[in-house]
Amino acid sequence: MSKGVQSVISDSNVVTSHPVMAEPFGNALIELAQTNDKIVGLSADLAKYTDIHIFRDAFPDRFYNVGMSEQLMMCAAAGLAKEGFIPYATTYATFAARRCYDFISQAVCEHKLNVKIIGGLPGLQSGYGPSHQATDDLAILGAMPDLTIIDPCDAVETMQATKLIAEYDRPVYMRLLRGNRVPLVLDKYDYTFEIGKAKLLKEGSDALAISCGEMTMRCLDAAEELEEQGIHVAVLHVPTIKPFNRETVLSEIARVNGPVFTAENHTEYGGLGSLVAAAVAQEKMQADLKKIALPDRYLEAGTLGFLQDLYGISTKTVKEAFTAALR
């Protein structure tokens, strides 16, 4: 390449105070593939942008780039699974959830095939506009029977989940945190990822935050800052959206004496907040529920930090929501 030119592989401009790690998903997949020869990788012209390019480079003959054919990719993954392989198929979350819905439903999930669908840029992680903002992936895919849905918080959990789902013989959709600066958060807590388990990361008597994905990081950061002001917010991390760990969520809600926040990088319709609210209503429980989620509309294009503040999912706005309710 000539002087003065470099290609950018990640458009993520996420600012984090946490230590970071490069390509946790790709690295975990490589480790996994070293001991499991059934693992194969697929991408639809987004290998470089979903961190599976490092798997491709490590195992060129176990990787298929199908070009810009997301629908085909889901069906081909189904076919590979029928032949006994464990395909990890990557694209952006919008294209997986929206464009491929019928293909995932009919080729993969109806037959409980061992396919792992990995969606990049879940929720609001791109300033590119609605085409790349998967604000609805949990709602869309959550309606699909027999699909397990995972929304990891950080690099640690991404690595653990990437490996665990291989052993879990059924369809999985995992939201991807990608790039060379994925935060490391959960290593500071006594935590190990288990499929289907919600876990309390931080105790607190004033309020409870129930969160998934990177919103758990933001809730933890906001809650740790509030400790200094004598405000104690508990944080319950729910990395598996489906199957939903109802019992743990309800028992933590029963323990708290104060507002209960749900926090997700997803539209307010049909995600974690909706699941929690439905569970509370069905139990006829009393709870002061407050939803931190994206609004029910097509979001703006712009810079990511600006949009996270605008739509109330940044650490700063999460902290403001906590304090406003606790005043």
Binding site: S7, N65, G127, S131, F306
Partner: protein, 278 residues
């Protein structure tokens, strides 16, 4: 008959469009620069020679429709739209920024004259089929021009649309495929072979031309042929282009999908930018 003064004029406009591309990309020091430089010639031919529109009235009923199917190439289209006076020049200095009228992916909500959202790739020809049917129903003789990418040719909906366009004899569709040889993961031929595109479109019932998309005279001739054609078929112009055209130091970079330049790179870009082929 090629009119040499017209070609000269168009080549100057294409140079202006290329400068506009650099002006916009400079804001973030990066972007889909190579594709936009490669597409500047046929887009200039479209906007300054072939298409019928009123710069100050983007909703004029009798306009030809232009659909950008692969919306990340918005920068290339904004560059010619600014040169054509369809959008204010100052807007270019806000490209991709908060509150801008020119987001990185083209969307009608932000930019007058943009007909569809192209960020999710592969919708241009399918929507174009419906618009072409609608225009015919209305008795309109407006055309539907659709710009697509060679990587995009792997999208299934494109071929569903091609089948319909052929089936319904949509001779009011003029598609342009920018065969620049690159897509997100690298060279198109090493990611997914989408060729031979001419034979594929011919088999789907299209009138096919294949040209050097960086030669202004070939561009103009192909557009004139499609517009003057009496064939009762949809038209496709396959434009072989060189990404980075006009900036020699960008040419041949297989990772040209999204380019970042440092200060020195930008200095070179602004000083070394050349005019295209007539």
């Amino acid at each position: 008959m090629i009119d040499n003064t017209e070609i000269k004029k168009l080549t100057d406009k294409a140079y202006e469009a290329r400068r506009n591309v650099l002006r916009m990309a400079y804001i973030d020091r990066r972007g889909f620069i190579a594709q936009a430089l490669g597409a500047a010639d046929f887009l200039t031919g479209l906007f300054f020679h072939a298409m019928k529109y009123r710069p100050d009235d983007p909703e004029w009923e009798d306009r030809d429709r232009f659909l950008l199917s692969a919306g990340h190439n918005a920068i290339a289209v904004y560059a010619v739209m600014a040169a054509a006076g369809m959008i204010p020049e100052e807007w270019m200095d806000t490209y991709g920024q908060d509150g801008s009228h020119l987001p990185m992916a083209s969307m009608p909500k932000y930019t007058p004259g943009i007909e569809i959202s192209g960020g999710s790739i592969g919708l241009g020809l399918p929507i174009g089929v419906g618009m072409a049917l609608g225009l015919k129903r209305k008795g309109s003789d407006s055309k539907v021009f659709i710009m697509m990418g060679d990587g995009e040719m792997a999208e299934g909906p494109t071929w569903e649309a091609a089948m319909s366009a052929g089936n319904y004899h949509l001779d009011n569709i003029i598609g342009l495929v920018d065969v620049n040889g690159i897509q997100a993961d690298g060279l198109t031929r090493s990611v997914m072979v989408t060729e031979p595109l001419d034979e594929k479109f011919r088999a789907f019932g299209f009138d096919v031309q294949r040209i050097n998309g960086n030669s202004m005279s070939e561009v103009v001739t192909a557009l004139d042929n499609a517009l003057g054609s009496k064939e009762n078929k949809p038209h496709i112009i396959i434009c072989d282009t060189v990404p980075g055209t006009g900036l020699d130091f960008l040419i041949g970079n297989p990772k040209a999908h999204f380019i970042s330049l440092d200060d020195e790179g930008w200095k070179r870009a602004f000083s070394e930018l050349k005019k295209g082929e007539e």
